[in-house]
Amino acid sequence: MGLLFGACFGGLLGAANLHEYDTIHAMLRLDEFDVYGLMASAIVVAAGLLWWLERRPTSTVFDGTLTLQRSRPKRHHIVGGGLFGIGWAIAGTCPAPALVMVSSGALYGLIVILGIFIGIYLGDRNNISSSFGDGEHHSSSEEFISL
């Protein structure tokens, strides 16, 4: 299941050239607005459907009733987000597109992947955010599911 969804996700990123340094750099230089349109349209579609699904009791296939997670902003969201943005701008790629970089033959992607692992390791050691936020894993019963 993870492999299938990953392939769809990575495939779409690759199709839109989001793995190219030039695409992300042009976006952040405000030279080109395609990626903003891409992200905004993804959010509008997902937010609309999730809002609609949340209003009725919706069962998920493997993990009971659909529950969305919403937290209040804390300091670590701003500190972490701020640092993430700086790193994103310097490396010109983010975690998922870095993997697609390597699949497309761009070998410096390997350096990015190694760097991200080291960064996560350091962040984990300092243990600034104890739980992973709404962008990441829910702590629910499925944690150990191996699909």
């Binding site: 839109a16 969201h77 070998l107 991200i116």
Partner: protein, 159 residues
């Protein structure tokens, strides 16, 4: 290999498709489809920790596989290269490796501290109408654009 895809698929096709993928995944596993979680759980596996969500490891390799499908098989765009040609043109290969590495470490650290990245907070979190994710997304968008402006000034407009 085959020439099935255009050179770059339009944003108004890819964006809504990603939105649908995120919703479908909520309907299957009730989880946000964030990419930094794939790194976090892969690292846990390497560290032999027990609280590993195994599907996130598969997800990690899935992204790689999907990239191969669209850049190598459906389209012939993937050649062995650095991926940072325009940066190397300005500051050469050695410094580029160092800068890209430092950027990646800062990015990984920030993603771990914030609890998500562009896909996690940026797309899945905001779609759940999480204020924390909206704040994180607004912050990283702002610092990324400002950092790019600084890079542009430092490189004399070359980058």
């Amino acid at each position: 290999m085959f020439d099935l895809l255009p050179e770059r698929l339009a944003w108004f096709i890819v964006g809504p498709s990603l939105g649908l993928l995120i919703v479908t995944f909520f309907l299957v596993l009730n989880q946000p489809l964030g990419a930094s979680g794939a790194y976090v759980h892969s690292l846990k596996l390497i560290q032999r920790k027990t609280d590993v969500a195994v599907w996130r490891i598969w997800y990690f390799f899935g992204i790689f596989l999907g990239g191969i499908l669209t850049t190598q098989i459906f389209r012939d765009s993937g050649k062995i290269r650095s991926g940072y040609a325009s940066m190397i043109e300005v500051i050469e290969g050695g410094p580029t490796i160092l800068i890209v590495f430092v950027g990646a470490v800062v990015m990984g650290y920030g993603a771990k501290v914030a609890g998500g990245c562009t896909s996690g907070h940026g797309m899945c979190g905001t779609s759940q109408r999480s204020v924390a994710s909206m704040v994180a997304t607004g912050t990283f968008m702002t610092t990324a654009i400002l950092t790019t402006l600084v890079i542009r000034i430092l490189s004399g407009g070359d980058l």
